[in-house]
Symmetry: D3
């Protein structure tokens, strides 16, 4: 589909500086796929940010933490929905599906995002005071 | 703690109209506690909205759906954080704890919310085009 | 109620520069009250912005336009709720009441804000394509 | 116009389960048109959410409440603008026009949304303390 | 690229009323270019808002104030990124480049926007109390 | 000032685990002050996130990059204002002042944030199509 051009070009593998190339290698090894999506290919213009951001996601989103990887991916999609980031909703919904999310789970998660947005505004708009129990 | 007054007063049980009183009874039965928090006590000025909103949360947030109740509560806190709703962050964090969330799980969830907010802005600010694979 | 201090101090009438003083005079004449709320008293540190902002609101929010002053005030509260601006929700709700808004109208407006926030997120989260009829 | 595919497919009438079909029938009867827009056709994957959401909008947005239907539609567009929901801005602007909104009223409403966004940020950024009168 | 139509049509020079035409003349003189971008061409339907908005930007964004024009343009892009305004991110990034912004500066600014979004959510989500020193 | 308690307690120096203590030492050395603000004291419950977040800010916000440290701090305040993070607006405004920001520069930056929020909503609400020149 035709889209606007990014602010900085999508970099091909042969255009990477060595620090960025090393990150791409780690992404491929971690995800066990050759595919590197555009987010990383644009971020690669700033290798320090690429390293930090990939390092952060690798540390946070994998196995072996207190939350299940699928749960974490659903939280990621929920946040991306509230922030209205098309790229992120689409890429992290795909990631959630790859981790086993069913259509029903995705629809249910979005129902909760919608309900929370509704009650968030009611609490703000009506200026509900925090209960002693929650203070 | 001293707080601003709400837009519509916090209603005591004796001030409720019958429709609102019936909802409060259902909240108490469902949650198995006598405590009704201020959100519902302010919303009670509009019984139709109270019925709809409680009905929606009761249907969405309980057992027996495709997502675990604790997972759903964590998603609720995540959304409330992005929307910056103090009341909601505090009340739903309390609810998550009541459903078994550990400090570590809460901290981890907030790390993911933070990371998603970061990458959401990078995707938007750099205008990253959606990959064919996600389109 | 005890509050944090503003970034720039709340200016008393005797601390105003002449441009700011002239704006305050116009606010008082337009609103037919001596009371000047803190928003203008902080903004008065930047007389150019004070002039522009007061001029804009005076032009937009009064009588004689295609929308009723109360309707405009309700729209103002709705926007302030979505942006979660406590100061603005409170001051513009007070303004709406001064223009005749009933408790019921305020509650109804907030119900619509809440419902719109809910369906906004569903449209975004489910990536609903725009219908031919709306394109 | 070419667009990204939704997270869950747009359902045709023949693909609906009976609960969703009943909602569609009610939408058609209420709106007195055969046209069902994509929002409902995607939401139809989750009949419970479809029922709740349609029920809520039907109850809120019609005649016979304390606010005029056109006013309510303008508030809906205002909220959708702040949330940056393209689908919602476009579909509810169309709805506002169908209820009689003129170009001038739409432009005026957007001017107020813009002005409110401006003053919301000033109140937040300058940390203006809430006046005693609004507390 | 094919796009949705605006809510009000993009006006050609020959369709302007005299007040709007005078603003366009001033934009051309100030920017020393014949090009008038779509934002102004749509806003021209509401000459009062066009005058106010152009007047505000002309006063704020030029030379001779306490902040450098390039710095001001970077702040503008940062805000537009948080608000997820595609039109604004793209047009103000172009303006920043015209004022001398390098790719590195744009990437660095976006890194800061991303980091701020991250820590903003942590402060909100963890409900960090304001230090005495900042109160 | 009395405030709500944080989700996880503010940690004193003697309560830190060794990884968190090492970060605090680095913060003190970098900032050349003994003062550690509450943000880090709450984040210290999650030493991995503390390390990542401090490392990111240290790398981004100091001297020796393509943008001036004061400019970067102003961008940080601008983003925090749009996100309505009271803690962040207050702490980063203090940081901007420590780096030399005058009252006039802070007021001017907030005027730009406000104007950008205004034009962002107009571009979104009127659905202004992106010009060929910016695509």
């Amino acid at each position: 589909m035709e889209q606007f051009s990014p602010i900085l070009p999508v970099l091909a593998d042969e255009d990477l500086d060595p620090r960025a190339a090393a990150v791409f290698e780690d992404i491929r090894a971690t995800r066990q796929t050759d595919f590197i999506n555009n987010f990383w290919r644009v971020l690669a213009h700033d290798p320090a940010n690429l390293e930090r951001t990939w390092g952060e996601l690798k540390e946070l989103m994998g196995e072996g933490t207190s939350l299940d990887p699928l749960v974490k991916e659903l939280i990621y999609v929920a946040v991306s929905t509230v922030n209205n980031c098309t790229y992120c909703v689409r890429s992290h919904t795909a990631a959630a599906r790859a981790k086993g999310a069913s259509d029903q789970q995705l629809a249910e998660m979005q129902s909760i995002v919608a309900a929370a947005n509704k009650t968030n505004r009611l609490a703000i708009g009506l200026q509900v005071p925090v209960d002693e129990a929650f203070s």
